[in-house]
């Protein structure tokens, strides 16, 4: 069989390198890579016969898996092992979509385009790697590989405080990933796993006693949680988002936050059931805190990007809540939510970037009534906001519905917290739209005109997927459900 995943990795790698050296023609190379990537992901989906059974491949429960020896010592067995299951597949799709949208959106980038597009592709390459890696070292490698390009994207193409933001981003996530690495190593060695492969760890870790599981889970949770980000380790996020260039923000919100969620599901929840069980109250607390905090803070933001950034905290809080519920419905919801948030927040960051390009500021109070000037942009803002506040027929809705239903099933009346916050979420988006889009025009520069075609196209791609999966979420859910997750029937 074709080593499809390795091929895809190779495609991205070659594309990235090509982009770096392509100079002014970088965007074409990047676009070609993105299209190829998307096609390969489509092929992955078509080949995925996961539901309801799994094809008999090397790693149980994963299809397309490949495994080659990498480092083999008596006590250290590390392989290059990749594979996808339903959950990773969804994230892979997200990566492909965001990559192509970002590339198209950034078509007009003129400052060192080779490096810019190369870094964008590298970020996506890393994310893709994270989603398909089934070996702890490989996973960590890709995990770190995402960090570096993002650091440069923020640090070189970012706003006025970019260096501060880049450093803050780097420090937070790097420290977190270190704790995560220790947790993963401890996971291997305390469980006595025969290798670093997911399958081996899975076989041994789940039978660990509750106490070590709890400690391991906490370490991993911290490591992944900072990426989420969980309150109170979230302050890097608004800064990083605000200072990052638009493409960077999109990938940051769309992909990087998802890495945390994916990692938590793949490397903590699936491996440490008792750990999850004992830490559940803490997770709930943090999830509620993040939900409330992100939402309330969004209300007080003046900067459009900050607003979206804080709303990300809120949304990812719901994701955490869904994961913490420890139920299959919760996990489906979490994955769906992350997919949805990836696309919607990407869209919102694109719009805020366009607002910035068009009006020279993102300060909500100083611009108003932009709809007559920029109808297309306004439509996109509306679409993004409405999707984000959970409008049916747009992608967030099925996810939020499932998440809340799962929350009710698990926590009963506590569901009032996220439910109540839905109103606040609606409030700040509506308030933002009221101030920014509607009302009499103010603060609009004379030369302002609607967004250039490529920005519109970039956003359009995301809107398209927002609607597509909003109407047919079953396309995703059926894939997710096929993953062998505890609580699933038959596993």
């Amino acid at each position: 069989m074709l080593p499809l995943l390795s091929l895809t990795l190779a495609t991205l790698l070659v594309g990235t390198l090509g982009t770096f050296f392509a100079g002014a023609r970088a965007r074409w190379v990047a676009l070609a890579t993105s299209i190829l990537f998307l096609l390969e992901v489509a092929l992955l989906f078509l080949n995925y016969s996961g539901w309801p059974g799994y094809n008999g491949s090397l790693v149980p429960g994963f299809s397309e898996s490949e495994s080659y020896a990498w480092i083999h010592l008596s006590w250290l067995q590390i392989n290059y092992t990749v594979g996808v299951d339903g959950i990773s597949l969804v994230f892979v799709l997200l990566t492909a979509i965001l990559q192509i949208a970002t590339v198209v959106y950034s078509w007009g980038e003129t400052r060192r385009p080779g490096a810019y597009f190369g870094l964008v592709l590298l970020t996506c390459l890393g994310s893709f790697g994270v989603f398909v890696a089934l070996d702890i070292l490989l996973f960590f490698l890709f995990w770190e590989a995402v960090l570096v390009p993002m650091f440069f994207l923020i640090g070189h193409w970012g706003g006025p405080h970019r260096r501060y933001a880049a450093l803050k981003f780097f420090v937070y996530t790097h420290v977190a990933s270190i704790v995560m690495l220790v947790g993963l190593l401890a996971l291997v060695f305390y469980s006595g796993a025969t290798s670093f492969d997911f399958a081996a760890v899975y076989a041994s870790a789940r039978s660990l006693a509750a106490v070590p599981q709890t400690f391991l889970f906490l370490a991993l949770f911290f490591g992944f949680g900072v990426k989420f980000p969980i309150v109170p380790f979230h302050t890097w996020l608004p800064d990083a988002h605000v200072e990052a260039p638009t493409g960077g923000s999109v990938l940051l919100a769309g992909l990087l936050l998802k890495l945390g969620g994916y990692g938590l599901i793949r490397w903590a929840v699936e491996l440490l059931p008792s750990g999850l069980h004992t830490t559940q109250p803490l997770l709930f607390f943090i999830a509620f805190l993040s939900i409330v905090w992100g939402s309330v803070l969004s209300l007080s933001q003046r900067d459009l990007k900050r607003l979206v950034a804080y709303s990300s905290i809120n949304h990812m809080g719901i994701v955490l809540l869904a994961i913490a519920l420890d139920s299959s419905l919760g996990l489906i919801a979490a994955v769906l939510l992350m997919f949805a948030h990836g696309i919607v927040s990407g869209l919102l960051f694109m719009t805020s970037g366009s607002v910035h390009h068009t009006f020279g500021t993102r300060d909500i109070p100083s611009v108003g009534g932009i709809t007559p000037t920029t109808p297309a942009l306004s439509t996109m803002i509306m679409a993004g906001s409405l999707a984000s506040l959970g409008l049916p027929a747009l992608i967030s809705f099925p996810a939020e519905f499932t998440a809340l239903l799962a929350t009710w099933n698990g926590l009963h009346y506590w569901v009032f917290v996220p439910l109540g916050i839905l109103v606040v979420t609606a409030a700040f988006y509506l308030w933002m739209m009221q101030r920014l889009l509607f009302g009499p025009p103010k603060g609009i520069p004379r030369e302002a005109h609607d967004v250039p075609w490529y920005e519109g196209a970039g956003m359009g791609i995301l809107v398209l997927f927002t609607i597509l999966f909003g109407i047919l979420p079953g396309l995703l859910v059926n894939v997710i459900v096929s993953s062998p997750i505890r609580g699933w029937p038959g596993t």
Binding site: A69, W70, I71, H72, L73, S74, W75, L76, L137, F140, L141, E144, A145, V148, F151, G155, H156, R163, L167, F170, V171, H174, V175, I178, V179, L181, V182, L185, A186, V188, F189, Y190
Partner: protein, 529 residues
């Protein structure tokens, strides 16, 4: 003593000794051009390296073996004073690699340097001392072998005898070195008093049974301090920064990449036995009965504290450094902390991890210093800010230096990452409180990223300052460097290329190197038990 059976295993050492004597002879004969003298040194070092690698049993080279396979790692091999262990051979290879890199790069030193024979002679002598350290199985043998290296390096640091900085560096290094030597010998004397022998193997077999716990502990304490000088552990590191700064940069490269490792290997030799003995004799229990202390854990705790203190302080101090060499010096100090983790944990995997870290550090730090030396020759100032825009102006030098820094920072797909990964994995694998060592090490490596990233930022994101640098070779952009191979000279360029290739190659596929090191470490651990 049969000479042939003696000469065989010692072929690498004899080669170096011959090289040393030859270049000293050159000095007498008046053959003093750098290239000719250097060629001898490079040749001797490379040959020695070849034999050492062959002895390790690498497949295509096995016909060059000088030590029969059976004699390696056998407790009875050699005399009580020295033994052929595969870990020792690995370290010999590491030392020879460092020497080779420095020798190669030094070929590009000014051709008319009259002191070339002395320089290369001392270099080889120091290398010889290091090789002997790797063979030691006796405390006094070990300390004396270290002194061979020390004396040679004092003089190497002072080598540019008309530079007051160089002499000051040598003076500081000498004073602290002599003090440390004294303390080491004092410690050795106390251990001798306790065990009535200086054979490390015998001490290992005796273990904690000597009956003088305080005497033993004091002896080990003195030894820790004495060796800490060489290994630049905090707070015994202060000389190192000044010495690294003041010494000729090529010598600095040798100090950081080569001779400092001697101290670390000495730690392995001396402290592994008591730590392991305790583990083997009394798993889980106290070996010192009747109210005394457990020697192994006590040593481990002390070494852990030193390790953590070293890496933390090294990193914190590196944060605000403005000079390139001093920043690298502090970084080197913090790296020693990581390496010490290996012996503090004291398992075969940890030893392997530390060894790999030491191995990696050779390319990273030696390479970096050699590169700094080359760049300094262009007239680039000593400050980090003097490197502004270098990355874009000199893409290949920039990429090489960036790779070395990234490897030092432990970025994946470089050897620096693999070594840290293995080391910290081993710490975690040992479980217990060693996990905290891993955490501390990892947090420190996060801290270290700051100053490495700063250099990268200066090199790539900032435009060169308007002021003209002293000779204006690069920053001024007018005068092209006279040396070939990108202005570095062929020798230096080769050395740097070699370092970079190894950084990436071992970083991507570490299995051959790591496998050999792991096997050696396992043998080493079994030897003591």
């Amino acid at each position: 003593m049969d000479l042939s059976s003696f000469a065989g295993p010692f072929l690498p050492e004899i080669l170096l000794l011959a090289g040393t004597l030859l270049v000293f002879l050159f000095d007498v004969l008046g053959v003093r051009t750098t290239e000719r003298v250097g060629a001898v040194a490079v040749g001797a070092t490379a040959l020695a390296l070849l034999f050492v690698v062959a002895d390790l049993g690498f497949a295509p080279l096995t016909f060059l073996r000088t030590i029969p396979a059976g004699q390696l790692d056998a407790a009875a091999s050699g005399t009580p004073l020295y033994a052929f262990t595969s870990l020792g051979l690995v370290f010999q290879a590491i030392f020879l690699l460092a020497t080779l890199l420095v020798s190669l790069a030094s070929l590009s030193r000014p051709s008319r340097d009259r002191g070339a024979p002395i320089f290369f002679g001392l270099l080889q002598l120091a290398a010889l001392g290091m090789l002997l350290v790797a063979l030691a199985s006796d405390l006094i043998f070990l300390l004396l072998a270290i002194e061979v290296t020390s004396i040679a390096t004092y003089l190497l640091v002072a080598y540019t005898r008309h530079d007051s900085r160089s002499l000051e560096a040598a003076m500081k290094m000498y004073i602290i070195g002599a003090l440390s030597t004294t303390l080491s010998f004092f410690g050795a004397s106390l251990l001798y008093g306790a065990y009535q022998t200086t054979s490390l193997l015998a001490i290992a077999r005796d273990g904690g049974a000597a009956g003088f716990p305080v005497l033993v502990l004091l002896g080990y304490g003195f030894l820790i301090v004495g060796l800490a000088f060489k290994a630049t552990l905090v707070p015994f590191h202060a000389w190192a920064v000044d010495a690294y700064d003041g010494a000729p940069t090529d010598v600095t490269a040798f100090l950081a990449g080569g001779s400092k490792k001697v101290g670390l290997f000495a730690f392995f030799l001396i402290f592994l036995a008591p730590i392991l003995f305790v583990r083997a004799a009394a798993p889980g229990g106290s070996p010192f009965t009747s109210g005394a202390v457990a020697l192994g854990p006590v040593l481990q705790i002390t070494l852990s504290v030193l390790a953590v203190g070293t890496m933390t302080l090294g990193n914190v101090l590196a944060l605000l450094q403005k000079e390139m060499k001093r920043m690298l010096a502090y970084s080197s100090i913090s790296q020693a902390g990581y390496m010490l983790i290996g012996i503090a944990v004291g398992t075969a995997p940890a030893l392997a991890g530390a060894t790999l870290q030491i191995f990696a550090h050779v390319f990273m730090k030696t390479g970096a210093f050699l590169l700094v030396a080359g760049v300094t020759a262009w007239g680039v100032g000593p400050l980090i800010d003097d490197w502004k825009g270098l990355g874009t102006r000199r893409p290949f030098v920039g990429v090489a230096f960036a790779l070395m820094l990234l490897s030092l920072a432990g970025v994946p797909l470089t050897v620096g990452f693999v070594s840290k990964f293995v080391l910290f994995s081993a710490a975690v694998q040992a479980q217990g409180y060693f996990v905290w060592l891993a955490v501390a090490g990892l947090l420190n490596s996060a801290l270290s990223v700051f100053y490495y990233a700063r250099v990268l930022r200066v090199m790539y994101f900032e435009e060169p300052a308007a002021r003209a640098t002293p000779t204006g070779a690069v920053a001024g952009g007018s005068e092209p460097p006279v040396l070939p191979a990108g202005g570095l000279g062929y020798g230096r360029a080769t050395a740097i290329l070699l370092a970079v290739v190894l950084i990436v190659a071992v970083g991507v596929y570490p299995q051959p190197v790591l496998g050999a090191i792991q096997a050696a470490a396992t043998h080493f651990v079994n030897l003591g038990a």
